[in-house]
C-alpha cells in the first residue's frame, strides 16, 4: 500500500477538514482512483466505466478566494476563484488527492484558469464546441469524448468496453430519474421539502465515491420525504410564494439566496441551474448501437449560456414556469459571469412575455451584500 503525503498545513485544519482528508487519503491508499470535475458537460459514464470515482470540485465557498486572488484577477467569477483557491491552498481533499482534473472550454474565465490550475494538478481540458448548431458539432464533441476515453485507457492500463459504458449509462440514468423524483417532490403543491434541503443533499451527494453511493444518498432523501409526506408532514407553508431559481450554479449561495428566499415567505419549487431538471431530465439512450456516441450526444444537448445561440435554456425555463406553477423568477448571476449576465435579458423578456415577475441578483460568495440581498428578495416576494 502506498503512503500519501498530507498538505503542509494539515495540522492547522479544523477537525472536520482533517477527517475529510483522512477519508479520501484512505480511499486512494487502498487503490481507489479519483478524478475531479467541474461541469455538467463532463461525461460521467466514462469514469464509471473505468472504475474511477468522479467528484465535483466546483468551489462554493468564499474561504480560499483571498488566496486565489494572489494569482487570479479580483474581477473574476467567485466559482472560478474558489475552485482554483482550493487547489492553491491545498484545502480540499478531493482536489488534493485526485489523479487529475477534467475541465471543459466553457467560459473564458474557466478555460484560462485551467491553464494555471494545471501547474498545481494535472488538468485535462475537453474542447467544447461553441454551439450545438453546426452539422459537425456533434462529431467534434464525439471525437473529444473518444480522445478522453483513449487517454484514460492508456493512463489506467484498462479497456473501457461498450458493455461497461452501457452499464454506466444505465446506472447514471437511474440516478437521474431519482434526481427527477426529488425535483418533483420539491415542486409539488405544496412542496414536500424545502429546496435548500435538496440543494444541500445534491451538494453532499457529489462527494460520494461512485455512482451507487451517490444514488443511495439521493434515494434516501426521496424516501424520507415520501415517508414524511405520508405521515402528514407539511414542511412548507401552503401560502409560500413559488419561486424558480435560475442563472449560475447556486450551490455557493444556498445560504445567501436560497435560505433567504425560504425564510422570507418564498419557497424554491424549481432549481433551474445546470444541476437541475433542465440537465437531469436528459437521459442517455442506453440501447443505442454506438453507446459512446449516445453518451456524447446526450451531453452536448445541455443548454448552458456559454453556447451561442442558447434558446433551449429559455424555452425550458418557460416550460418549468408552467409545470411548477411559478409565482416569480429569481435569476442569480455570479459576479463577472458575462454569459449568464448578458443572457439574463432574454430570460427577463421571456418572463415579461409570460407575465411572471422577474428579478436579477448579481452577487458573489461573500457576505458583504447579505443585507441588501435580503431586502431585495423579501420585497420581491412581498410584491408577488
Amino acid at each position: 500500500m502506498e503512503t500519501l503525503a498530507l498538505p503542509k498545513s494539515f495540522d492547522e485544519f479544523v477537525d472536520a477538514r482533517k477527517a475529510g482528508f483522512l477519508k479520501v487519503k484512505e480511499y486512494v491508499e487502498n487503490g481507489g482512483h479519483l478524478v475531479g470535475m467541474f461541469c455538467s458537460y463532463t461525461p460521467l459514464e466514462l469514469f464509471d466505466a473505468a472504475g474511477v470515482s468522479v467528484v465535483g470540485l466546483c468551489g462554493t465557498s468564499n474561504e480560499p478566494i483571498a488566496d486565489a486572488e494572489k494569482v487570479l484577477p479580483k474581477n473574476l467569477c467567485p466559482l472560478i476563484k474558489s475552485s482554483y483557491g482550493f487547489a492553491y491552498t491545498e484545502k480540499c481533499p478531493y482536489t488534493y488527492f485526485c489523479d487529475f482534473i477534467v475541465g471543459e472550454t466553457t467560459c473564458d474565465g474557466k478555460k484560462k484558469m485551467f491553464e494555471l490550475l494545471n501547474d498545481i494538478k494535472e488538468t485535462y481540458v475537453l474542447h467544447l464546441p461553441q454551439s450545438q448548431k453546426r452539422d459537425y458539432a456533434k462529431e467534434i464533441w464525439y471525437q473529444e469524448i473518444k480522445l478522453l476515453k483513449e487517454y484514460m485507457e492508456e493512463r489506467y492500463g484498462i479497456e473501457i468496453t461498450d458493455e461497461k459504458l452501457r452499464e454506466a449509462a444505465r446506472k447514471r440514468n437511474e440516478l437521474r430519474k431519482t434526481q427527477m423524483e426529488l425535483y418533483a417532490l420539491q415542486g409539488a403543491v405544496p412542496p414536500a421539502m424545502k429546496a435548500t434541503e435538496v440543494m444541500s443533499t445534491l451538494a453532499q451527494g457529489m462527494f460520494n465515491f461512485g455512482v451507487d453511493a451517490q444514488h443511495a444518498s439521493y434515494k434516501a432523501k426521496v424516501d424520507a420525504a415520501k415517508e414524511a409526506l405520508a405521515g402528514g408532514a407539511k414542511p412548507v407553508d401552503e401560502k409560500a410564494k413559488r419561486i424558480l431559481l435560475t442563472g449560475c450554479p447556486s450551490t455557493g449561495v444556498i445560504q445567501k439566496v436560497g435560505m433567504t428566499i425560504e425564510n422570507n415567505g418564498g419557497v424554491i419549487v424549481c432549481l433551474d441551474d445546470c444541476g437541475g431538471e433542465r440537465t437531469q431530465k436528459m437521459l442517455v439512450d442506453e440501447n443505442a448501437d454506438d453507446i459512446l456516441r449516445a453518451i456524447s450526444d446526450r451531453y452536448l444537448e445541455i443548454h448552458c449560456s456559454v453556447m451561442t445561440t442558447n434558446e433551449g435554456r429559455i424555452a425550458n425555463t418557460r416550460e418549468m414556469c408552467q409545470k411548477y406553477k411559478v409565482d416569480g423568477v429569481v435569476e442569480m448571476v455570479l459576479q463577472a459571469c458575462h454569459t449568464f449576465n448578458v443572457e439574463s435579458t432574454l430570460m427577463q423578456n421571456m418572463c415579461d412575455d409570460e407575465g411572471i415577475p422577474y428579478m436579477k441578483l448579481e452577487t458573489d460568495y461573500s457576505t458583504t451584500d447579505s443585507g441588501q440581498i435580503e431586502t431585495r428578495l423579501a420585497a420581491f416576494i412581498e410584491m408577488l
Partner: protein
Amino acid sequence: MYQVGIDIGSSAAKAAVISEGEVIKTILLDTGFSSRKVADTIYATLEAEGITKENAKYVATGYGRISVPYADDVITEITCHGKGSYFLFGENGTIIDIGGQDTKGISLKNGRVMKFIMNDKCSAGTGKFLEVMTNRLGLTPQELSALARKGKEITISSMCTVFAESEVISLIGKETPREDIAFGVIESVVNKVVSLLAQVPNDQYFLTGGLCEDIYIVERLAKALNAPVKTTPLARFAGAIGAAIAC
C-alpha cells in the same frame, strides 16, 4: 386602534401613527449606533402620549426592521414606500427614494409595486454621497442646495463616493468656487439616480425620503427626467406611513 409604522433607516428613524385613516403624528430621530435603542425611544415617546401595545398595532420596516422587538410584523421598505406613496399621492408613477445608504426606484400601479430597482453595494447616488460632500465643503444640506443654484456647470466624473471626494478636494485645491462644486455634487447624484430610474420609467415620479423638502433637487430631477416630480413634506415618512397602513 392606532396603527404605528416604524421605519428604521441607516441614518434616520421615522415613525408615523395613523388613526381613522389620518396621519396624526410623526417622529423623526437619528438612528445613531443602535437600532434597538432608537426603537425603544420611539415606543417610549408614543407611550407618553397614550399609544401602547394595548391600543396599537406596530409594523417595522427599513434596515433596522428586525431590531424592533415590539413589532407585530416586519415588511420591507420597498413594499412600505409603495403603500405610503399611494396613500400620499394616490396615483400611478415611479417612487424615487433617496435613502441614507441606498436609492430605490419603485414602479407603482393601482397602489401595487410592479417592479423595483436598487443601487448595488456602491453608495453613488445616495444620501451618503451627499452627506460626505456637504461635510467636505463645510456646509449644511440646505446651504449646499442654495449654493448649487448659483453655481456654474462643472462635472464630478467619479461615481464612487471615495474617489469623488478626492476629486472635490482637488477642486477645492484649485480654488474652484464653492457654488460650482456644490452644483457638480448635486448633478452627480441626480445623474446617477436618473440612470437607475431608466429601468423603471414612468409618466411621473414621487420623491420620498430625506431630500423631499429640497426644492432644488426636486427641480433638477424633474429637468433630468423630463417629467413631473411630486413630493410633500410628509414623503419623508412614506416608509413609516406605509408600514402603518400595513398594520
